[in-house]
């Protein structure tokens, strides 16, 4: 027991070390940016359709596998990498739209348990189809040469690809802001999040809007999966792990809020990065405790609004 306390104290002294703090901060932010790509779509979909999409992790997984195949079979190097990102997003855009038209639009009026079960069933269908199309082997995907290796930044060396993830995350956040605030489609999305009946009454084709939102969310997940392929082990079970983190983020930030998804992602990323430093075995417990506390004191999340 004493040695455990000693160990914890040792761990805490690391917080006084600026190099460690900077590195953990960067690593937390870069992990957070990946979480943002998944949870932004999850949150958009929930905001508009009120469906909690358990299959979102499966869409992310599909994006990672597609990217892996593009890089391995079609084209290598930097052009292959760029193509893999585009392919991941584009294919999932189609898959997402198709799923909405075939399945999801049938359950918008169903009770919560049916909505939950349908997307839950999809989790396993997608997971197993991926196993059938590819196989059960775990693989790693190489980042393009330009982005591999390490970069020196404010006194620490940090993997270049992780820095790249941070930049892409910021770019996607900005792009989403522009989409939601400067385009008609985006304004409809925000309006539907507030009051979808009213939006329909005003003459907007909500059917098409729902399909569009689901496709957009799926494309974000596919893009995220493709982008994450070089830092993940691409293999079975990815889809069930990823969705849990995304849920935690969306609940903390507020379901339906994009700024909430961003703040929630960074928060979870940082809590994980520093939690591992302080209590290596309990870091995961911390994120769920955070989720429970938020739900107890502010069920609609940091940036959501009460219903």
């Amino acid at each position: 027991m004493e040695s455990l306390l000693d160990q914890t104290w040792q761990n805490f002294t690391l917080f006084g070390n600026p190099t460690v703090v900077i590195r953990q901060t960067l690593s937390g932010i870069s992990h957070g940016m990946l979480l943002f790509l998944i949870s932004a779509g999850l949150s958009l979909i929930f905001g508009v359709t009120r469906i909690l999409n358990f299959a979102h992790g499966g869409l992310f997984m599909l994006g990672a596998y597609v990217a892996m195949s593009v890089i391995g079979l079609v084209l290598g190097g930097l052009p292959g990498f760029v193509l893999s990102l585009i392919a991941g997003a584009a294919l999932l855009l189609l898959v997402g739209g198709g799923l909405e038209i075939l399945l999801l639009r049938r359950i918008y009026r169903s009770a919560h348990e049916f909505q939950l079960l349908l997307t839950f069933g999809l989790v396993f269908v997608i997971g197993d189809l991926v196993m059938i199309i590819w196989d059960r082997e775990e693989r790693s995907v190489a980042a393009p040469e330009l982005l591999s290796g390490a970069t020196r930044l404010i006194g620490v060396t940090f993997p270049t690809y992780r820095l790249f993830l941070i930049l892409v995350g910021i770019a996607v956040a900005v792009a989403l802001w522009v989409l939601l605030h400067r385009t008609r489609f985006g304004i409809w999305i925000r309006a539907a999040t507030l009051d979808r009946e009213m939006l329909g009454a005003l003459g907007v084709n909500t059917r098409r809007l729902y399909t569009g939102v689901f496709a957009l969310g799926a494309a974000l997940a596919g893009f995220g999966g493709a982008l994450a392929a070089p830092v993940l082990a691409v293999g079975p079970g990815l889809h069930v792990e990823v969705i849990i983190d995304a849920f935690v983020v969306v609940v903390i930030g507020g379901m339906g809020s994009i700024p909430g998804a961003l703040v929630g992602s960074l928060l979870v990323g940082l809590v994980n990065a520093f939690g591992i430093l302080a209590f290596p075995s309990l870091a995961v417990v911390l994120t769920f405790a955070l989720m429970a506390v938020i739900l107890i004191v502010r069920p609609w999340g940091l940036f959501g609004r009460p219903e």
Binding site: R50, L52, L103, R106, I107, S110, H112, E113, F114, L116, L117, L118, F120, G121, L122, V123, F124, V125, I126, G127, D128, L129, M131, I132, V240, I244, F247, V248, V251, M255, S281, L282, V284, V285, F288, A289, M291, A292, L295, I296, P299, W300
Partner: protein
């Protein structure tokens, strides 16, 4: 209860009593699993079908009951009876703590909070290796005396689940259950009639947790082991699927759902490694084509 219903229940009881005794040990084990999950799904339906509370963390109490038995027997060498008695108690105490906070929320938020607590229990079970064995779980639990024989243990489990289900039946038809259904249909109205609805839901949550814990304990003693996967989030969908499959609005629905589900799983996963694909497809088909469940009617409601 009508005469035909009584007749059906008697035939079913006789079938349950005799049929598995003629089967081999494997099918006796599967029959035990079906009984245990029937009780588990029943306890869940007390929440959803009768109380309108969609818990997405019910596996926590099944798992805690199982771990209660596992830890008491393997680490503290407690006797079988004490361990089995502890299973519902451990689960009920945990459910009391979680329920206290959860019943303040409704709908999807209730589901999310029960889910968060379940993941807390799951990660603790994974990390508290000294007590739980972590990823490897607890193995090597043994039943005493004649209960070692699967046929005898089957009868033992049948007796306990029948008792528990009988208790549940009494409960849902007593004023307690009537009030619960009324809360499900219109909570505000019941509140204005002077019922402390939150306390009522809390008590229901604790009772459901206790029965789930009992099921978990019985199952741990059937397999002789406990694994953290029993507490994982995907496990929480199992009682939902079983209850919906059988019919949320029929008392015996979850029993039928559990037997059909366990049967399908046993047969299909014996033939292919893609059981999850089949399960997913079945669930999607169920939601789209048979939302009332096997025993249900679309418009029927429990006890109406």
């Amino acid at each position: 209860m009508s005469r035909t219903k009584l007749g059906l229940w008697s035939v079913a009881a006789l079938l349950f009593l005799v049929a598995p005794l003629g089967l081999g040990a494997f099918w006796q084990f599967i029959a035990i699993e079906a009984l245990v999950f029937a009780l588990y799904a029943m306890s869940f339906n007390l929440l959803l079908g009768y109380g309108g509370m969609l818990s997405f963390g019910h596996a926590a109490y099944f798992g805690l009951g199982a771990y209660g038995v596992g830890i008491l027997m393997a680490k503290l060498s407690a006797p079988f009876w004490l361990a089995l008695l502890a299973a519902p108690v451990v689960a009920a105490v945990s459910a009391a703590a979680v329920g206290y906070f959860s019943v303040r929320l409704t709908g999807i938020y209730f589901a999310m909070l029960t889910f968060a607590f379940q993941m807390l229990f799951f990660t603790v079970a994974l990390k508290a290796t000294v007590l739980t064995g972590g990823d490897d779980g607890i193995v090597g639990l043994t039943r005493p005396g004649i209960l070692v024989d699967p046929a005898v243990y089957y009868l033992f489990v049948l007796f306990i689940t029948a008792l528990a289900i009988g208790l549940l039946y009494r409960m849902v038809n007593a004023p307690f259950g009537q009030t619960l259904r009324a809360i499900r249909d219109n909570a505000r109205r019941v509140q204005h009639l002077g019922v402390h609805t939150r306390a009522h839901c809390w008590l229901t949550f604790v009772i459901a947790g206790a029965f789930a814990g009992l099921a978990g304990g019985l199952f741990a003693l059937s397999t002789g082991s406990v694994f953290p996967g029993w507490l994982d989030w995907t496990a929480s969908a199992t009682p939902i699927v079983m209850a919906v499959l059988g019919g949320l609005r029929v008392f015996a629905g979850p029993i039928a759902g559990a037997f059909v589900f366990v049967g399908l799983e046993t047969v299909i996963s014996g033939h292919t490694e893609y059981w999850p694909l089949f399960m997913g497809t079945i669930i999607i088909a169920l939601v789209l084509l048979l939302p009332g469940g096997i025993l249900g009617t679309r418009s029927g409601r429990v006890g109406h």
